[in-house]
């Protein structure tokens, strides 16, 4: 076996690209779940973000506007979910699944005339002097702006949830919505906002797929990334920094197995393809083995509808 041609730096660059859509969608969903809402429609919001981002970018010629468009598209469909679950009190699981199906169908319809078009290229963020450094330059300063943004976003979410009063109120809605309500907070409005934030993040993740990872529009192109993002939130036990760990690990194993195959290492591709999922399952099992700890992390009111009876 010859590992010498396996370029670790290039692999890390690839894995971060593969992980970023998952990271973006997962950090958004984390906030949604922290507010006590389970939105299973991540996949649907992502694909909407992918198509609206693609349409915006190709129409305006600006990839950055494309990402804004993707976030707006994702947030827009999420308001549908928010309205149904928060004000009409529909079942969150069923509504989330419906949102995914609706999103896949609507995106296919919207994207009809955008097949085979090339989106404008997203330039890498060049830091004068630093980007040209050997190894370090490629490792730290060779990415597109969205990757840096996604990491800043995770830090911001951590700070918001743990260091601000508004974050505390949002968590209160997720832990005990009756208590939050009795203190005078508008639970529905706060959750509505959280859901929209989750939608915007998922949309941004979707736009990352259609504008950078695979710069093209094809129906169903997110191919299940949204579901992985949902799993990563549980994997991360609702802690923002662990979302980075989970997303990069998932992306890393995917890239590693493809690279090993390209290198000609004779290890069964079937097992390698399974590994990201197996590792996720194993971690979930280990985490849930200690029930007390697991239940400490999960928002107590997750998935429960709130109805103010007075």
């Amino acid at each position: 076996m010859d590992f010498s041609s396996l370029n670790a730096v290039a692999m890390i660059v690839l894995l971060i690209g593969a992980a970023t859509p998952i990271l973006l969608a997962a950090i958004g969903e984390l906030v949604v779940e922290k507010s006590g809402v389970l939105n299973l429609g991540v996949e649907g919001m992502m694909i909407i973000g992918a198509v609206t981002g693609f349409i915006t970018a190709t129409t305006t010629g600006s990839p950055m506007l494309g990402f804004v468009g993707g976030a707006i598209g994702g947030a827009a469909v999420s308001t549908l979910f928010a309205f149904l679950t928060q004000y009409l009190l529909s079942n969150q699981v069923a509504t989330g699944l419906a949102l995914t199906m609706f999103g896949l169908g609507l995106a296919a319809l919207m994207g009809r005339s955008y097949n085979g078009i090339k989106p404008p290229r997203t330039e890498r963020l060049e830091v004068p002097g630093l980007s040209d450094l050997p190894v370090l330059g490629e490792l730290f300063f060779s990415y597109d702006p969205i990757i840096y943004f996604s990491l800043v976003l995770v830090i911001a979410v951590w700070w918001f949830l743990n260091r601000t009063r508004a974050g505390l109120v949002l968590r209160a809605c997720g832990e005990n919505h009756d208590a939050a309500h009795s203190l005078g907070y508008n639970v529905q409005l706060i959750r509505f906002g959280a859901i929209m934030f989750g939608g915007a993040c998922a949309g941004l993740g979707g736009a990352y797929v259609s504008l950078i990872r695979v710069p093209q529009w094809t129906e169903g192109m997110t191919a299940g990334v949204g579901w992985i993002a949902l799993a990563i939130v549980v994997f991360a036990s609702w802690k923002p920094w662990r979302v980075i760990l989970g997303a990069y690990m998932f992306g890393g194993i995917t890239i590693l197995q493809l690279s090993l195959q390209a290198l000609g290492i004779s290890i069964s591709g079937a097992y390698l393809s399974m590994t990201p999922y197996i590792v996720t399952i194993v971690v979930l099992v280990i985490m849930s083995a200690d029930r007390k700890r697991a239940s400490l992390n999960a928002p107590a009111c997750l998935g429960r509808s709130f109805h103010a009876s007075h």
Binding site: E43, G111, V214, P215, T218, G220, A223, A262, S273
Partner: protein, 361 residues
């Protein structure tokens, strides 16, 4: 993902059923042809070309045929449910267009003896189940020759879906062709275990390019690899359809699946009452395998050779699997001048000599 696709398929079928039920109550019905697709029509690859075939049927017969389809149907038990519902809705002939639909097709066909089933790329037949496929390996031999001539690093990347005979045939055929024009050529095969996942296909293309590959071949359905090839400045081939829109500089040519004539013929047979279970395996000669226009990046001698090969395969003069060919382990598969028979090719489950790596099973 699977779950939602199923739901979506079920919902689609529900709509199709209610529509069919009202239409079915009149006399003098148009003949109904149903199609089951593994991916979305918008994949612009495999499923898209099957849908082009369906549209050709509509164009040919006009109002006397009514077609319906369900897209993105997962292979396995869900497929069985969708097929049963389609059969129950009064469809006369059903085309199931993916290898993984083989057992579901056979199972459902047993329950609906009056419905004709046509399964693509499989090998199990029954009284009311025909199989059909195209000799894509003929096309892959031609693009393999081009790849072998065009690579400068002598490394050709191959993005493979599942280790089934159809895919293994393609790899072997392309390798033999590339080797015949370039003895130093090396194949790097990456199995992605999916027919359609643009993100993963793009990752695989990136991983291959990272390993020094400068020509990419693929046996997955989306144009993702073509997009990456264009971006990174390497060559690639259109898969199932002309993908030059995604890689105007990258695409050298492409294999085009042309199902229309076959679908028209089979629907006609049902109309005439002459339909019976057959096994069709057509190639370049019959026009089921066609090519996208050759890129102007190809030197004249490469084009001339490709055209000569196409002509030789088309006329039956030459078969890609003509001995001497050894298996990967060095044992003899085909002796000098011996041509592989269809039975062997249909179940091909080994690499030929010279391909590195182990074939997963």
């Amino acid at each position: 993902m699977k779950f939602t696709k199923t739901l979506a398929a079920a919902a689609a079928m529900g709509l199709a059923l209610s529509g069919a039920a009202t239409a079915g109550s009149h006399g003098g019905d148009p003949l109904k042809a149903g199609f089951i697709y593994v991916g979305p029509i918008g994949d612009l690859g495999w499923t898209w070309t099957h849908d082009q075939g369906r549209l050709a049927v509509e164009a040919e017969f006009g109002d006397s045929v009514e077609t319906s389809y369900v897209e993105s149907v997962p292979e396995g038990a869900d497929a069985e449910r969708v097929m049963s519902q389609m059969a129950r809705s009064g469809v006369d002939i059903i085309f199931t267009t993916s290898f993984g639909y083989m057992d579901p097709t056979i199972n459902v066909a047993a329950d609906f003896p009056d419905v004709a089933f046509e399964h693509a790329t499989g090998y199990k037949r029954a009284e009311n189940v025909s199989t059909y496929s195209a000799r894509f390996y003929e096309g892959r031999y031609v693009i393999g020759e081009i790849a072998g001539a065009m690579t400068e690093t002598n490394k050709i990347g191959y993005i493979a879906s599942f280790p089934i005979p159809e895919v293994v045939r393609g790899i072997n055929s392309a390798y033999l062709a590339a080797k015949s024009v370039n003895p130093d050529v090396e194949f790097k095969v990456v199995w992605v275990y999916t027919w359609f996942d643009p993100g993963k296909e793009a990752d695989a293309a990136n991983a291959l390019i990272e390993q020094g590959v400068d020509v990419i071949m693929q046996h997955t359905d989306s144009p993702a690899a073509m997009t990456i090839a264009e971006e990174k400045g390497v060559y690639a081939f259109g898969q199932a359809s002309d993908m030059s829109a995604f890689g105007p500089n990258a695409q050298l040519t492409g294999i085009i699946d042309n199902w229309g004539p076959y679908y028209i013929e089979r629907v006609k047979a049902v109309m005439d009452g002459t339909w019976e279970s057959t096994d069709t395996w057509d190639g370049i000669a019959e026009g089921m395998v066609q090519f996208a226009p050759f890129s102007d990046k190809l030197p004249a001698d490469v084009v001339a050779r490709a055209e000569a090969t196409i002509a030789a395969i088309g006329s039956g003069e030459f078969s890609p699997f003509t001995g001497p060919i050894n298996k990967q382990d060095g044992s003899v598969w085909l002796a000098e001048g011996e041509v592989a028979d269809d039975g062997t090719l249909a179940g091909l489950n080994f690499y030929v000599e010279g391909i590195d790596g182990e074939l997963p099973n």
